[in-house]
């Protein structure tokens, strides 16, 4: 059976989105004869004056045809020999940004159109930013209207540079640039002879072949409960869709927020009894023990979720009335719905430059980072870790409008009565003062791998370039701030949490921070990333254990093997290798070339 690709087309108004898809369907013979005929008839009446206006295939609302613009998302379904597609064609006008976001939340890949004659516009940047915010990780930039710039390679390369700079801000897996002409059909379904300098695939071929296989970070089992099924007294099942991981009969699961545990008695996939089920399936689970489970609870196994009353999120505001601290909203995340209010607006994001700006209010079509507090505890995760439990909407309690959508970036545990004081001198102000962008370069690896040595060498090179830096080293911190901590699992976690908070403070002061800690656990490093936020760069110092033991610069391995140090990483305690480090250092090379490699990799940040 075919695989399915869900994608959106977006970009500024008049960049030719509807025309592109219309032409693709027409050329690939994916239209029914009556649709084709209607299209030809409509074109004679419409604005394109006789020649086929492909956009008429998608702009289905009367108001859209009247005004010749796209107002709302249109979904189109087509199948080629290689793949099935659902495409959401989204509006380009700023006014209808929220409808574009609807399409983005649905898609796995974004085709962003850019006009070769106009370059990257504010609206193009806004759309790329919203796509990234909504969780899209695969991007295609279709550089359109190449016919208007004489199919110039030089013009294409100029856009390539702008796109590279734009994309550097986002977390993505793939970006592809394709020069096209939507109205003339160049590089849409077949390679254009008019651009011999372009060596890549035409758009449709690329879409047929790209692998967007999900890479869920959460591997534990999670299932938000949608409803309790009680057909009779003898059966009580919990219905929902598995969001991550898998579950089998007789597994022990935990129900949040209560924390009660029970054994899985049976699993129904639809109406069929199964032994196990995995992510994506709609199931009914019955448990061996009578515990309190209702809609909104989350059943999980081996996953780390938050149960808290406050969180930080990045949101897109979509309502005419702005976000205000005085109003209570309804928060919906997973299958939970509960009252929630704004704690503080941390900053807005300038859609054009990506810069953080201090803000008192958030208005329609603006993106902002905010803290929220709910009336009661609820269960959630960060969006990057678990999309279903890390995405949310806010509902206006009077108009019932969906006024914002957003992603949870971290949990704010601790005392909810505290309120954050905004300061006039912001992080970006301090960064500007120092003439640099703050970030945290987090070195992780076994003891003796060379973290401190490398961090030290890198810091020297940065100092030579007049960068303002601070190096936090494991042993040094343990002699001061963390002198009350040992090496148990809990103490190691607290050690890393404190270091992350300190690094975050120093980043806020505008400094480039380098940290050298074993930081052996994935979960701890994930939390550090969440605390520090953007510009967290994980560097994995990949020195094999044998080599570390051979070096044994501090004589610790000798003590560990004699049993003097019980929970030493690599001996009594594991080291969890980073799954997706930003940089991996191979210390078989000499130090200088290691540092050269890092500077090259860090070019976007420093």
């Amino acid at each position: 059976m075919h695989t399915l690709l869900k994608f959106i087309t977006c970009g500024s108004v008049d960049d030719g989105k509807s025309t592109l898809i219309g032409h693709m369907l027409y050329d690939a013979k994916l239209l029914f004869a009556d649709q084709e005929k209607a299209l030809e008839l409509d074109s004679q009446l419409g604005s394109a004056g006789g020649s086929i206006d492909y956009s008429l295939l998608l702009d289905g609302l009367m108001a859209e045809r009247e005004q010749g613009i796209t107002i709302d998302v249109a979904y189109r379904y087509f199948t080629t020999d290689a793949r099935s597609f659902i495409v959401a064609d989204t509006p380009g006008h700023e006014e209808y940004t929220r409808n574009m976001a609807v399409g983005a939340s649905f898609a796995e890949l974004a085709v962003i159109l850019a006009d070769a004659s106009k370059g990257i516009l504010t609206q193009t940047r806004r759309h790329a930013r919203i796509c990234a915010l909504m969780g899209i990780r695969h991007f295609v930039f279709a550089v359109n209207k190449m016919d208007l710039v004489n199919y110039s390679e030089e013009r294409f390369n100029r856009l390539r540079k702008d796109i590279r700079i734009l994309m550097a801000e986002f977390d993505y897996e793939s970006v592809m640039l394709i020069p096209v002409s939507a109205s003339c059909g160049d590089n849409i379904i077949r390679k254009s002879k008019r651009m011999p300098w372009y060596g890549g695939q035409p758009l449709l071929t690329y879409l047929e072949n790209i692998d967007v296989g999900a890479r869920p970070e959460e591997t534990g089992f999670t299932m938000p409960v949608q409803r309790v099924c009680r057909p009779n007294r003898s059966f009580r099942g919990f219905q929902g869709q598995i969001e991550s991981g898998s579950i089998a009969v007789s597994d022990t699961v935990t129900v949040l927020p209560s924390g009660e545990q029970a054994k899985v008695l049976g699993i129904l996939d639809g109406d069929e009894a199964v032994e196990s089920a995995s992510a994506g399936h709609a199931v009914t689970i019955s448990l061996g023990t009578e515990i309190d489970v209702s809609r909104g609870c989350v059943i999980h196994k081996d996953s780390r979720l938050y149960v808290s009353r406050s969180f930080q999120g990045m949101l897109l505001w979509m309502d005419g009335a702005g976000l205000t601290a005085q109003r209570s909203y309804l928060l919906k995340t997973g299958t939970q719905k509960l009252p929630c209010s704004l704690l503080r607006i941390r900053h807005k994001i300038d859609v054009n430059t990506g810069q953080e700006q201090p803000a008192e209010n958030v208005y329609k079509n603006e993106i902002a980072c905010c803290d929220f507090r709910t009336d009661t505890e609820f269960v959630f995760d960060t969006f990057t870790h678990n999309q279903a439990l890390g995405s949310f909407i806010l509902i206006d309690r009077v108009t019932h409008m969906t006024c914002a959508c957003g992603t949870i970036t971290r949990s704010l545990s601790g005392d909810n009565r505290l309120t954050w004081q905004n300061t006039d001198i912001t992080r970006s102000f301090r960064e500007q003062q120092l003439g640099q962008k703050a970030c945290t370069i987090w070195f992780t690896g076994l003891s003796g791998a060379g973290k401190s040595t490398l961090a030290n060498a890198l810091e020297k090179r940065l100092a030579e370039r007049n960068r303002h830096t601070m190096l936090l080293d494991g042993d040094n911190i343990r002699m001061g701030l963390n002198s009350n901590l040992g090496f148990s699992g809990a103490d190691r976690t607290e050690n890393i949490r404190r270091v992350a908070e300190v690094a975050k403070l120093m980043n806020d002061a505008g400094l480039i921070v380098l940290t050298a800690f074993i930081s052996p656990f994935l979960a701890d490093r994930r939390r550090a990333r969440e605390i520090i936020g953007e510009n967290f760069i994980e560097v994995y110092v990949n020195t094999p254990l044998d080599e570390c033991i051979r070096r044994d610069t501090k004589g610790l391995y000798a003590s560990a093997s004699s049993g003097e140090i019980p929970e030493f990483t690599g001996f009594g305690s594991p080291y969890e290798v980073p799954e997706h480090p930003d940089i991996t250092v191979d210390t078989a090379k000499d130090i200088d070339s290691c540092v050269d490699d890092q500077l090259e990799a860090l070019r976007e940040y420093i």
């Binding site: 695989t3 029914f32 045809r65 409808n99 976001a101 057909p231 099942g237 399936h281 909407i393």
Partner: protein
């Protein structure tokens, strides 16, 4: 997970959300293949419980005989509650598809549906609409909101993000919910084959008495069919791609008398599904949107 399993899980998720959050849901049942799929999904979604809502058939009194027989048998077989609603006022006025054209559809379908929803006070109604059917449907959300007069405002649809459906409404407002929005006609047929779902026999080609009218093959289903002077019913092997009121539903000549053959024909089809429904082309390209704004499903 394959494509169909994903679509199935999505539809089940939506049905469960509505059952859990909406006060008084109902599932519209039109007896067609999409309704058969919807019913099948509802039975799966809540199993081992029966669907926790009734089914509603809005009867124009001009449906094919075989459809009504099928409806009653299926309702009994699955033990579900099947409500029937007929616009009694329209019936008393003798509104029929021959004399009243598009006002027939308005009175016996659109008005009847509104009356039925008001009569029972349903706050959410599931429909089997799919986005691949028609251009204004392609623009509609899965959760589509109606004001107290059942009107749709296409320019002001609520954002629908991820799978976080906002089901909040004020008194008098209602929601139309389309769990199979993302299915195509081909998906429907593949799923019917995979799940062995029972459908009305009219979908399979058989010898039937038809007359050719304005390029459509109309079946003479009962004695109420008015024939023009030059029309004589002839037996032809026909099947129907969609089912509705027999005088308004065009059949197609076909030998497809098994699911595999129907799927084969669907895949190589040259015209989209709704061309066989005369009601859609009545009034130009935007006629469907107009009807939907006025409350048509």
């Amino acid at each position: 997970m394959n494509h169909l399993k994903k679509l199935e899980a999505e539809a089940i998720y939506i049905m469960r959300e509505v059952a859990a959050e909406c006060e008084k849901p109902v599932m519209l049942y039109s007896i067609g293949k999409d309704s058969s799929v919807m019913l099948h999904l509802a039975l799966k979604a809540f199993y081992p419980e029966k669907p926790p809502f009734p089914f509603l058939h809005v009867n124009t009194t001009w449906k094919f005989k075989e459809m009504i027989a099928f409806r009653d048998r299926i309702a009994e077989k699955h033990g579900i509650q099947m409500l029937e609603y007929i616009n009694q006022d329209g019936l008393a006025q003798g509104i029929n598809p021959f004399d009243h054209g598009s006002s027939y559809t308005d009175i016996m379908k659109t008005q009847a549906l509104k009356q039925a929803l008001d009569h029972y006070g349903f706050t959410a109604a599931f429909g089997g609409g799919r986005r691949d059917e028609e251009k204004s449907r392609a623009k509609e959300r899965i959760f589509s909101f109606r004001n107290p007069y059942h009107a749709w405002d296409p320019k002001n649809q609520r954002p629908e993000m991820w799978k976080l459906y906002n089901t909040e409404i004020s008194r008098g407002e209602s929601i139309r919910v389309f769990p199979i929005s993302n299915w195509t006609e081909n998906d429907i047929w593949q799923y019917i084959r995979q799940e062995q779902i029972e459908i009305v026999p009219l979908y399979f080609a058989a010898e039937r008495p038809v007359v050719e009218r304005d390029g459509n093959l109309i079946m003479v289903d009962d004695e109420r069919m008015r024939l023009n002077e030059n029309e004589t019913p002839v037996m032809k092997k026909v099947r129907f791609r969609t089912l509705g009121c027999y005088p308004l539903t065009g059949g197609m000549e076909s030998d497809a008398d098994t699911l595999d053959k129907i799927i084969g024909e669907t895949l190589s089809a040259v015209s989209s599904e709704r061309t066989s429904r005369i009601i859609d082309s009545d009034g130009g390209a935007a006629s469907m949107e107009k009807r939907k704004r006025e409350g048509y499903f």
